[in-house]
C-alpha cells in the first residue's frame, strides 16, 4: 500500500513537472504562429529550424557556455567547498556569506554589476565575459550542493587514511570525493541548468555577436515567440531523453550478471 502511494505521488509530481513541456511539444506542431490558436498539424517549424541561422548560433553558444561553465564551476566549487569546510568558523561564515551573494542578488544587479566590472577593466564584452559571468553565478550553487555532503563526512575515515600514510591528494581522490559525489553531481546539474536558461546576466555580459537561446527567446517575445523555438526545445528534449535511455541501458546490462 505504502509503495503504491509513493509511486502515485511521484507520478503526480512528474506529471506536474512535465505538463507544460507536453504543451510545448504539442504546439511545436501547430500550424499557427500563435499559441492562442490551433491551426492544424504541421512539421514546418522543424524544417524552418534548420534554416534559421540565429537559432543555430544561439544554440551553439548556449550549450558550449553551459557545459564549460558547469564543468569549471563544479571543479572550482567542489575544491573550494572542501577548503571552506576546513576553515575556522568565523572565516568560514564570512566566505559563505560572500558566496551567497550571487544567489541573493536579483539577476539584474549581478548582470549590471559584472557589466560595469568588465567595462571598467576595458574588457570587450563577448564570449569570455559571458563565460566568466556564468561561472560566477554557478559556483555558489555548487558550493551549496557539496557542503552538506561534507558535513556528513565521517572524519574518522579520513583521519584513518592519513594515519595509514595516504597522501592528502590520495585521500581526496579515493576517500573524500567518492563520499561527496552525489553533491558534486547535483551541483553540476544545477549549474548546468542555471546556465542553460539564463537571460539577464548573459544579456549584459555578452557582445560581439555572441548570444544564447534565452536572449533570442526573450527578444522574440515582443512579436510572439515563433514555434521554431518549440520545435528546437522538443528536439533537445528528445535528444537528451534518448541519450539518457541509452546510457541507462548500457549501465544496467552489466548488472544482469
Amino acid at each position: 500500500m505504502k509503495n503504491k502511494i509513493s509511486k502515485l505521488y511521484l507520478a503526480l509530481v512528474f506529471l506536474f513537472l512535465y505538463a507544460p513541456i507536453v504543451v510545448l511539444v504539442v504546439y511545436s506542431f501547430n500550424d499557427s504562429k500563435s499559441r492562442g490558436n490551433w491551426g492544424g498539424f504541421t512539421f514546418k517549424w522543424y524544417l524552418e529550424l534548420f534554416r534559421d541561422r540565429d537559432i543555430k548560433t544561439a544554440l551553439y553558444y548556449t550549450v558550449t557556455i553551459a557545459i564549460l561553465a558547469a564543468v569549471i564551476s563544479t571543479i572550482v566549487g567542489t575544491v573550494s567547498a572542501i577548503g571552506i569546510y576546513n576553515m575556522k568558523t568565523s572565516r568560514m561564515n564570512f566566505l559563505l556569506n560572500v558566496n551567497y551573494l550571487p544567489i541573493i542578488n536579483p539577476d539584474i544587479v549581478t548582470g549590471i554589476g559584472l557589466m560595469i566590472l568588465f567595462l571598467s577593466a576595458n574588457i570587450k564584452l563577448g564570449f569570455s565575459t559571458m563565460l566568466l559571468a556564468h561561472i560566477t553565478f554557478d559556483i555558489p550553487y555548487v558550493v551549496l550542493s557539496v557542503l552538506p555532503k561534507l558535513k556528513q563526512l565521517d572524519n574518522n575515515i579520513t583521519e584513518a587514511a592519513l594515519d595509514l600514510g595516504a597522501t592528502p591528494f590520495y585521500t581526496l581522490k579515493k576517500i573524500i570525493i567518492p563520499q561527496i559525489k552525489p553533491g558534486i553531481i547535483t551541483g553540476f546539474l544545477i549549474a548546468f541548468t542555471l546556465s542553460i536558461d539564463d537571460f539577464v546576466i548573459s544579456f549584459f555580459t555578452t557582445g560581439s555577436g555572441v548570444t544564447n537561446l534565452s536572449i533570442e527567446i526573450y527578444s522574440m517575445a515582443r512579436r510572439g515567440i515563433s514555434p521554431t523555438i518549440n520545435a528546437l526545445s522538443s528536439l533537445m528534449l528528445v535528444v537528451v531523453l534518448g541519450l539518457l535511455l541509452i546510457i541507462n541501458k548500457r549501465t544496467t546490462i552489466p548488472n544482469k550478471e
Binding site: S6, Y9, L10, V13, F14, L17, A19, P20, I21, V23, V76, V79, S80, I82, G83, I84, N86, M87, T89, N93, V98, N99, Y100, I103, I104, N105, P106, I108, V109, I112, L114, I116, L132, T136, L144, S145, L147, P148, K149, T158, L162, P168, P182, G183, T186, L189, I190, T193, I196, D197, F199, I217, Y218, I225, I229, M236, L237, L241, L244, T251
Partner: protein, 279 residues
C-alpha cells in the same frame, strides 16, 4: 582533514573578491550617492536613496514579495522532501535516470514554460476548456497570487529536491536500523534521525529557493498579470526604465541586509554545529 586543505579555498576567495565583492561594492556606491544628471564626476554621498524605500508602497511590495517567496519555499519543502526521500529509495540503476528526468524540464527555457502554464491555466486554456466540456464554470486560475506561487513552486522545486536528495542519499542506514531496533516508530525515526541528518540539505534547499524567489520578476509579470508587483519587478524597472540606478541599488542593498539579518537569526536558533549548517 588536515589544516592545509583550507588553502584550497584561496583561489575561489580571490575570484569572489573580484567578481562578487567588487561589483557589489560598485552597486553599494550607487546606493549611497546621488545621480549625476550631467555625468560629471561629482559624488555626493547620501542616504536619500534608502529613505525613499520607506514609502508604504515599497514596503508593501517588499512584504508581499517576502511572503509569497516564503510561501512558495514552504510548499516546495513540503512537496519536495517526500520526492527527495522517494528518489533515494529507488533502485540504484534507476536513480540517475530519475534525477535527470526530474531536472530535464528546467532545461527548457523558463519563458517558454511560463507561457505554457498560461496556455494551461488561462480562461480559454486547457483546464478551463476541459471544465467547460463537463459543463462546469470557468475557474480563475491566472493573473493572481495563486498563479504566481504555482509558477514559483514549479520553477524552484528541483532546487529544493536536489540538496535534500543528496543529503538523504547514502545516509548511514545503520542509524535508522538502530533506531528501529530500539523500538522507535516511523514518525519518531523521521523526526529524530532522518530529518536532523538531512537538515544541511534542507537548509541548502531553502536558500536555493527562497533567495531567487524573492527577486524573480518574470513569473509575477506573466502569471500575475502585472497586478502583483514584486520587488524584483520594481528593481528591474528602476535599473532599466527609470534609470534610477541609485534607488535600484539601494533597494537591492536593503534586500541583502534583510536576508542577512534573517540568516543571523537562524544561526542563533541553530542548535549545534554537527547537524546544522552555518549559513
Amino acid at each position: 582533514m588536515n589544516s592545509k586543505s583550507r588553502y584550497l579555498a584561496y583561489p575561489y576567495s580571490i575570484w569572489m573578491l573580484v567578481f562578487i565583492l567588487f561589483p557589489l561594492f560598485l552597486i553599494f556606491l550607487y546606493s549611497i550617492t546621488l545621480r549625476n544628471p550631467n555625468d560629471i564626476k561629482t559624488i555626493t554621498f547620501t542616504f536619500e536613496n534608502f529613505g525613499k524605500f520607506f514609502d508604504p508602497i515599497y514596503v508593501n511590495v517588499l512584504i508581499r514579495s517576502i511572503s509569497i517567496a516564503a510561501l512558495s519555499t514552504g510548499i516546495c519543502l513540503i512537496v519536495g522532501y517526500p520526492v527527495a526521500y522517494l528518489l533515494t529509495r529507488a533502485k540504484d540503476k534507476h536513480k540517475g535516470l530519475m534525477i535527470l528526468l526530474f531536472i530535464l524540464p528546467m532545461w527548457m527555457n523558463m519563458l517558454l514554460r511560463t507561457y505554457a502554464w498560461m496556455t494551461i491555466l488561462g480562461n480559454t486554456g486547457l483546464i478551463n476548456s476541459f471544465l467547460n466540456l463537463l459543463n462546469l464554470p470557468n475557474v480563475n486560475l491566472l493573473y493572481n497570487n495563486k498563479a504566481v506561487i504555482l509558477g514559483m513552486v514549479y520553477n524552484f522545486l528541483p532546487f529544493m529536491v536536489f540538496p535534500i536528495y543528496t543529503a538523504l542519499n547514502k545516509m548511514d542506514r545503520s542509524l535508522i536500523e538502530a533506531a528501529d531496533d530500539l523500538g522507535a516508530d516511523g514518525f519518531t525515526i523521521f523526526k529524530r534521525v532522518i530529518f536532523p541528518l538531512s537538515l544541511p540539505g534542507v537548509i541548502s534547499g531553502i536558500v536555493m529557493v527562497f533567495m531567487p524567489a524573492v527577486s524573480t520578476f518574470v513569473i509575477p509579470r506573466l502569471l500575475g498579470g502585472g497586478k502583483n508587483v514584486l520587488i524584483g519587478n520594481l528593481i528591474e524597472k528602476l535599473f532599466l526604465v527609470t534609470r534610477d540606478w541609485n534607488f535600484g541599488a539601494a533597494l537591492s542593498m536593503i534586500i541583502l541586509i534583510i536576508i542577512f539579518i534573517s540568516i543571523k537569526i537562524l544561526n542563533i536558533l541553530k542548535i549545534d554545529k554537527e547537524s546544522g549548517v552555518s549559513i
